[in-house]
Symmetry: C2
Subunit: 443 residues, 2 copies
């Protein structure tokens, strides 16, 4: 951090200006304030200025007070700042601040899906002209890496379809409606109480947030810009408890899907839409529940891949924002040193210190055959207990021809202790012909 | 392609030498021979030489015969070649060819998990010294983007655990054992007959392939090299049909998990292991079936993300290999033009041609209320039929106070036709008080 620069003696090469210190901004500062054990490039970042509305408000993160300012315009024009991290959201003043920053030669990291979906043309044209990057991993799918994989690894495929559950609020509501059999209004009120839905839920429940996000994904997957008004958008208000019940009877879950797709039906013209949809229960998207997001990408010759994870929240979204900062530093650092991009090369030279297997702590499943004698379970239980192996269950599953079959599931135990208990069980004089049939771990 | 260079007039900037023309090599040539609609950087690639064992063997892809050679050593020394794509697999001669290529200043793309897991130290040390990249997206998870996300987006997190189903053969066998109740030997024989398992299945069923792959993932996630002998490795031979049955009864699926993890039990020393494991049925890894792979990454502050897709196969693996080629070209091209990395910037300027919603083809679910009169189903069916809307089912779910509830599911239909049918149904004189309760799509 800037103020610790002198004490730590670390070289700060890249100064960032942060616009907004709400939930995600706080998460970003927390990561940058605590770099140990993360991507080494982050040690080259300093937070130079932070634009906020109320500089005197108590904050959950420690930042030198002199970094805070209400003058966001000054931050995007500050010659010392290399990267602007825009986390204020909404269309204005975000759009104007981004454009001014670009005009001043700053690279942009943003989590703002709305401003990119609706003003991406203007913003990317300006960025290309100025020779700066606009990165937006956090704008779709929160912490799920989807933007950069679409630009890189997946881009050698001909993409046929991107289909996602990309709004956590509506997925939470549909999951609750499905599991509790409750109706939309009841669940929405509960979601608002828990903070999963906004007081004005329109952007989420009417599909506009998902429409912004699918516009961005479609643009990357199909290599062209998307006019926002070309997107067909329906929300989840029409979905009733009865529909969810009937759909379940027919073998479907109901999900709000955002889909961008090219097929022969529309002569390979793109389709971009957000619609509540019945998803077959065996389909990987059907079991994505609660506030989780998932994005399915289908292409040739790849086939189908799916990305799953937390679509929102402080830590997840901040992770994606800081990843973009690291990506930028990697790109900017290439002109130094050996010229290799640090995120593509191998930066470590040492070997990891790997623990011996006896020290692992895990749950075990073990199946025995043994003589069907009285006290067998007691004897085995005692051997485990003497070695500090705590059991979750011990069940005699079958007896045939005087041979009993026992299945034991342990709690978390040290592997060394578990092995010692097994050795003792083997030597039990009281037990005839005890054999271990299988030992498996439990996740 | 090189031979079409004159005709097409395209600028070929990067010549690649391909070692091996088996299944994956053929897939790579197929993508590079058919670039339209893919990442534009691929137009800068030319296949310069292809090293094979039998140059006269009939091939599934068209390549000018003069590109083929049995002299692999000459390819890795060829001054014209910028990138070596190593697809011969195994330890030798792959290791020696890679090291010679690096010594000659070539960048490396490889799908060879064994050579990287066991000789990564030597290979990466040589690469760092020579200032070249060694990329290996295809080595783990086939077409699933996991290597580059671990290096980039996920690397700002403190990773706690990487847990994956990363061997398709064993997952196929366990899935079949679970679904058919069959034992290991029977299912293995069937898998060998179908080509999902090798004649010598040891590398897969004894966990060695998964061990190579988790060594690579652990190295990236935890930022250090892994000694192969530090990995605890157990295969699936000990798993019996009885275990799968009992595990199911306890609420678990059995999967071969590869896990790299740091926790307080081992004083934050790393654990790296491959073991058959009971996975709770609600866990996202439990429903990964057949030859599919999935990799779960847990970190702070991200939480949990999962990557799912085809872990092997010609198209999927070739997609990852070609993605690495595109990544390399992006890095090498940065010194040209405006200096922006093409895979991070926005390369497109045009708007996509988006089809109007009436042209979409999808399945629909629609729920009606209507008077409980005779012939209702017939009338509605006729309206749909006259508009070329083919029905999968039409069910009267409920009748109360003279009001019938009908649920209709269509086959794939043009949205315009579906809307026209609904308009006609609305105007039916024969039906009293017909109201549409909800219209949903079916994926």
């Amino acid at each position: 951090m800037a103020n610790a620069e002198q004490q730590s003696g670390k070289t700060v090469a890249f100064k960032i200006g942060l616009l907004g210190l709400g939930t995600v901004g706080t998460g970003v500062v927390e990561i940058l304030n605590d770099c140990q054990g993360r991507q080494p490039l982050l040690s080259q970042v300093a937070i130079h200025r932070v634009g906020v509305r109320s500089p005197d408000k108590p904050r959950a993160v420690s930042l030198p007070p002199e970094l805070l300012t209400t003058d966001l315009e000054a931050i995007v024009r500050d010659p010392a700042v290399a990267i602007i991290v825009e986390l204020i959201g909404g269309l204005e003043p975000a759009r104007s601040l981004i454009l001014t920053a670009i005009a001043n030669g700053k690279h942009i990291v943003t989590a703002n899906k709305a401003v990119i979906a609706r003003h991406g043309d203007e913003i990317y044209s300006a960025a290309n002209q100025a020779g700066v990057y606009v990165l937006l991993e956090a704008a779709v799918g929160g912490g799920i890496p989807i933007i950069q994989p679409l630009k890189q690894t997946l881009s050698v495929n001909r993409i046929h379809r991107v289909a996602g559950i990309i709004n956590g609020t509506t997925n939470y509501i549909l999951t609750e409606m499905s599991q509790a059999g409750a109706d939309f209004d009841t669940v929405l009120a509960e979601a608002q109480r828990l903070g999963y839905a906004e007081a004005d839920p329109t952007a989420d429940v009417d599909g506009f947030d998902a429409a912004d996000k699918i516009a961005i994904l479609a643009s990357l997957a199909f290599g062209g810009r998307i006019r926002y008004e070309d997107i067909s958008c329906e929300g989840i208000r029409p979905v009733s408890a009865a529909d969810i019940r009937y759909a379940a009877g027919l073998g479907f879950a109901i999900k709000l899907l955002a889909i961008a797709q090219c097929d022969e039906h529309t002569q390979n013209r793109l389709q971009v839409r957000v619609q509540p949809s019945l998803v077959p229960k065996a389909h990987p998207l059907a079991s994505v529940n609660g506030v989780y997001n998932a994005i399915l990408v289908e292409g040739e010759p790849l086939g189908q891949v799916m990305f799953y994870g937390p679509g929102a929240g402080k830590g997840a979204t901040a992770s994606a924002v800081v990843a973009d900062i690291a990506n930028l530093i990697g790109l900017l650092a290439m002109s130094h040193a050996d010229g290799l991009h640090p995120l593509y090369g191998c930066g470590h030279q040492h070997y990891c210190d790997v623990a011996p297997i006896a020290e692992l702590v895990t749950r075990f499943y073990v199946r025995f055959f043994c003589g069907d004698e009285s006290g067998v379970i007691g004897h085995i239980g005692t051997c485990f207990g003497q070695n500090a192996v705590s059991l979750e269950s011990i069940v005699q599953t079958d007896t045939q021809d005087g041979i009993a079959e026992l299945v034991v599931v342990t709690h978390d135990v040290r592997e060394g202790n578990f092995r010692a208990a097994l050795a003792e069980i083997h030597q039990l004089q009281a037990l005839d012909n005890i054999t271990i049939q299988s030992i498996l771990r439990v996740l």
